[in-house]
Symmetry: C2
Subunit: 85 residues, 2 copies
């Protein structure tokens, strides 16, 4: 009887270990799914911010061109210098 109880106890312990492993597997699979979702969100965000950088750089370039244009206009309208007076 004692031998049978020991065997029963051994089986129960093994059962608990297996359940523990399966539980850990479920948790890890959930974690992997969660992290993969986060990863694709980051990819989208990063793509969006890179597009924003590209837009800003383009806008900056147009502003630089505008500044050059205005400076050229200013030079052409500069008050007559003392030398030519």
């Amino acid at each position: 009887l004692v031998g049978m109880e020991e065997k029963q106890s051994h089986n129960t312990e093994r059962q608990h270990k297996a359940e523990g492993l399966l539980q850990e597997l479920r948790l890890l699979r959930d974690k992997v799914n969660e992290l993969e979702d986060e990863k694709s969100q980051y990819e989208r965000k990063l793509k969006a911010t890179k597009a924003e950088i590209s837009n800003l750089q383009h806008l900056l370039l147009t502003k630089k061109t505008e500044i050059e244009h205005l400076q050229a206009q200013l030079l052409s309208r500069a008050p007559v210098s003392m030398d030519s007076a």
Copy 2:
């Protein structure tokens, strides 16, 4: 004897299942670590690109101010109009 062989075969099968589970656990833990590394890389990249956007926006603001300044200068140096001639 057949009973013992069956039991042995049953144990071997159970052993294989347990090894399979442990193997899957190891793979999932590696995957979780790998994904968490990627996540922190994305966080760094995203932080860097946001800082770049902030810099570009600041630069754009200085260019706009410069343009306004140049336009004001141009107005003040506008050729004398026909009315006042």
